[in-house]
């Protein structure tokens, strides 16, 4: 792996060239071209207790052009690499779907489904420890909304996150290209729903608590997770996660904290192990006497699985999950409006954030 510079795109370019160099050397030595790719099969995905997120164990598979089942995919991998090189050179980005359609015109012929072309991108990402953003490839979906005291630069455009309308600054899929210019906030407060986001913006919680309000919009997009990671790393801001009090809410928070198994090969760029869960717990349901829904069978099943999940092994999680299973109730984050719209901002959050 080449030394990493300040410019991830330049690094990506260097890695792609190395890839080409290795293949040309194979050919010159009259050896079948080959490449090593970390295995992304479940047996190679482990929860790293030290790093506190999912990552890949050491197992690697070798793709060789001497295998008739692999030679086409091998050629497609090189076509994809060359496609990325052109993107980087032109300073452009393309979506994965655009690459999938472009592949129709490759000399190898295209892929039978986008799934397959996406997997080739993942191969390149994991083989060379690159992020697709750095390769000029974007996921389809936009990232989350941000409101708060933050100025960023995208190319020659500077954006203030309080001046971009009520819906806030939208994290672009090309998160790697975003430069943090100035930040006056002291923490990141990420909430599960747009509803809660708007409540916090209206109540000026960003100002009151000097926070960047981030709407995760359910399961957060890669760009959102990348933003949280960078806010935590580069800006040194603590990250708080406020979700619904149900198994899905816990999961959303945990994906931010420990990463998902599917993206284990890239979690070191995404996971925020120090992010703190301040979502609704079973204790909160009791303490605040929140309006609830009964747990469904699927909720109960899921909660029981969480009890055995290493990511939920600490005492606090265990206690709260047990309690939820006992009371058989769940509550949404908006349930606090029982006590008035402002209640969540004036009472709940300061308590959870330890500001009272």
């Amino acid at each position: 792996m080449a030394e990493r510079s300040e410019d991830p795109r330049k690094d990506a370019m260097e890695e792609l060239k190395n890839f080409g160099r290795d293949i040309l050397k194979n050919i010159k030595d009259k050896e079948p071209p080959r490449m090593k790719i970390p295995s992304r099969s479940t047996s190679n995905i482990v929860y790293d207790e030290d790093k506190r997120f999912y990552s890949l164990a050491g197992k690697k598979t070798t793709r060789t052009a001497a295998n008739m089942r692999q030679v086409k995919k091998f050629a497609q991998t090189l076509c994809a690499a060359d496609f990325c090189k052109d993107l980087i050179e032109a300073g452009k980005s393309a979506t994965l779907r655009e690459m999938y359609y472009t592949s129709e015109g490759w000399p190898t012929g295209g892929f039978s489904s986008q799934d397959r072309s996406d997997r080739v991108v993942e191969d390149i990402e994991s083989a060379f420890e690159l992020k697709r953003e750095d390769l000029g490839l974007l996921p389809e979906e936009d990232g989350a909304s941000i409101f708060g005291d933050l100025i960023v630069r995208e190319g020659d455009m500077e954006v203030e996150a309080t001046e971009a309308g009520r819906a806030g600054y939208t994290i672009p899929p090309t998160m790697s290209d975003v430069e943090f210019v100035e930040c006056g906030a002291e923490r990141v407060l990420a909430v599960e729903t747009m509803g809660m986001y708007h409540r916090l913006v209206q109540e000026e919680a960003w100002d009151t608590y000097n926070s960047l309000i981030v709407a995760l919009k359910g399961q957060p997009a890669r760009a959102t997770r990348r933003f949280l990671k960078r806010a935590n790393n580069d800006l040194g801001l603590p990250v708080y996660l406020f979700t619904d009090g149900d198994p899905f809410g816990f999961h959303i928070a945990m994906v931010v904290i420990s990463g998902s198994a599917k993206l284990a090969y890239i979690n070191h760029e995404l996971a925020v192990p120090d992010a703190k869960f301040i979502g609704v717990t079973a204790s909160d349901i009791e303490e605040y006497k929140l309006p609830t829904d009964p747990l469904r069978d699927s909720d109960i099943k899921r909660l029981k699985q969480l009890l055995d999940d290493p990511r939920y092994s600490d005492e606090e999680w265990q206690k709260e999950i047990e309690k939820m299973l006992k009371i058989k109730k769940k509550a949404e984050q908006q349930a606090f409006s029982k006590y008035g719209l402002e209640y969540v901002v004036e009472e709940y959050l300061p308590t959870k954030l330890g500001l009272n």
Partner: protein, 519 residues
């Protein structure tokens, strides 16, 4: 007032068509497509037999021309022309006008013309459906005249009548028959004349057939061998196969003076020793004249035969097509990628009737496609003594033996693989299921022999197909590397903005290694 002669004229015409209606299915004249095929069959059989008898390589021209349109579209003219030695005028009315004339019914010999009642059946069918006489144009070797005759059948007297006759000048030898028929349909289906002629050409590779269809299109079924098959020899009946009525029938035509010598002379494998053995088994004076043989005596003798052992009957009279000629026929007509054939040794069914089974397989080309429609699969073509069996495919032992094969084991998908399977049963006495003579009965020995013959041929085909599959896979592998390795080289070079490196050697090396060392 209606005149008596008109009434009788009508009566006579009625009786002709009535005869047909009653016997139609037995004679092969049933259904609009089948009737047309039967007319063609009778004419072509006649033509081939005539040429073979004269020692001439048969060339047959068949034309079917549409005579009507609209509601009359079932009206056709069928023309069959051969290059045989022609028919002298005095025989024309006998050959064409008389039912059962000149058939080989009383000879224990393998014959092709086993369907219906011969060429006169065609004359009668024409007469019954269109009311028109059949035109016979013929000229013999030593004549510089051509005879033109119109023939009708006087059914009451079972006699041919020449309704018009004239001579033309010309230097030509052969016979041309023109039937005018109605109530028939021309279609290029499995049951139609096209497939009948195609099958005939395959099983008779010494015959050349030119076929003109109603739309004017011409098909040439070219000759594949210059060998004229030997005429089958009559073979005396075998004691194990004969029945009481057969024995009686035989005795009426013997010249022997005693029952004993009659048996020795007129049966095969019946020696003097066997005669002595028989004398001990029956309570009959075998020195009596054959004329005194009656049903009871015949039955006693036949039941004694059942308890005796005889040498298997001679098979020298049987004339298989021969595996080489089957292959030639398949190759010529179907233009396949592969053809193979098997001619088995003679076997015996019902204890005394010898038969030979032959099979052939063609793969690729035009195989497996009976109507030229491009819709292929396993096609079974059945023959008895080289004559195509087109109808009643379902109830036939040849078909069921073929269908009982597990084709998938032989790399053949009956639904899609382009394969034609030929089965020919050769015997003086083919065990047909019915008078229609279009399907073979499930005699256990026949079924088993057909099955063995099919498997023998199929194993040859399997060897070929497996080689082909292997070769195709090898080719596929090689193509894969030839396609993709240069792309890998080019794209790797593109990443570095270099010229692509030389990769041909590596392609050869990798494609070779993958092929298990074969280059």
């Amino acid at each position: 007032m209606v005149l008596a002669k008109d009434i009788f004229k009508e009566f006579r015409e009625h009786s002709v068509s009535e005869f047909f209606r009653k016997n139609a299915s037995m004679l092969g004249y049933t259904g609009k497509i089948r009737s047309l095929t039967t007319v063609v069959h009778e004419g072509v059989t006649n033509a081939i037999d005539a040429a073979e008898d004269a020692g001439i390589l048969p060339s047959v021209y068949v034309a079917i021309r549409s005579m009507g349109e609209g509601s009359n579209s079932d009206h056709y003219k069928v023309i069959i022309e051969d290059n045989a030695s022609g028919i002298p005028d005095e025989y024309v009315s006998r050959v064409f006008g008389r039912m059962l004339a000149g058939t080989k019914l009383h000879r224990n010999v393998q014959n092709r013309g086993q369907q219906g009642i011969g060429i006169s059946g065609g004359v009668m069918f024409a007469q019954a459906t269109s009311g028109q006489p059949t035109v016979v144009i013929s000229s013999t070797e030593d004549s510089d005249e051509i005879s033109y005759n119109e023939v009708m059948i006087d059914l009451n007297n079972n006699k041919g009548e020449i309704s018009e006759s004239r001579k033309m000048e010309g230097d030509w030898r052969g016979t041309r028959i023109e039937f005018e028929v109605k109530d028939v349909t021309y279609r290029r289906s499995r049951y139609g004349p096209y497939n009948y002629l195609r099958m005939t050409a395959i099983a008779n590779p010494h015959v050349q057939i030119t076929f003109e269809e109603p739309d004017g299109s011409l098909t040439f079924f070219e000759r594949a061998t210059q060998e004229i098959p030997e005429n089958p020899e009559p073979v005396p009946p075998h004691p194990a196969g004969i029945k009481a009525d057969g024995l009686l029938d035989l005795s009426e035509r013997t010249r022997s003076r005693s029952i004993g010598t009659f048996l020795v002379n007129d049966l095969s494998r019946f020696s003097r020793n066997k005669l002595e053995e028989l004398e001990e088994r029956v309570d009959v004076d075998l020195d009596r004249s054959p004329e005194e043989l009656n049903w009871d005596i015949a039955e006693e003798i036949v039941s004694a035969f059942r308890e005796m052992k005889f040498m298997a009957p001679p098979t020298k009279g049987l004339r298989p097509i021969g595996s080489e000629n089957i292959e030639r026929g398949l190759e010529q007509i179907l233009d396949p990628d592969f053809a193979c054939a098997v001619t088995r040794s003679p076997e015996v069914y019902r204890g005394g009737i010898p038969f030979i089974v032959e099979t052939g397989l063609a793969y690729g080309g035009n195989a497996g496609d009976s109507s030229g429609s491009g819709d292929t699969g396993l096609e079974i073509i059945r023959f008895a003594n080289r004559a195509p069996l087109i109808f009643n495919q379902g109830g036939c032992a040849l078909t069921s033996a073929a269908q009982d094969i597990d084709w998938k084991r032989y790399e053949v998908d009956p639904e899609s693989t382009p394969v034609t399977l030929l089965i020919n049963i050769v015997s003086y006495h083919v065990p047909y299921t019915s008078a229609g003579k279009q399907s073979v009965a499930e005699e256990p020995e026949v079924y088993e022999e057909v099955r063995q013959a099919i498997m023998e041929a199929t194993r040859k085909l399997r060897r070929y197909l497996r080689k082909k599959i292997k070769k195709r896979e090898r080719q596929k592998r090689a193509n894969l590397f030839e396609n993709y390795l240069p792309i890998i080289a080019k794209k790797a070079a593109d990443l570095l903005e270099e010229e692509p490196p030389e990769i041909d050697d590596l392609v050869r090396k990798i494609a070779g290694v993958e092929n298990g060392g074969e280059k």
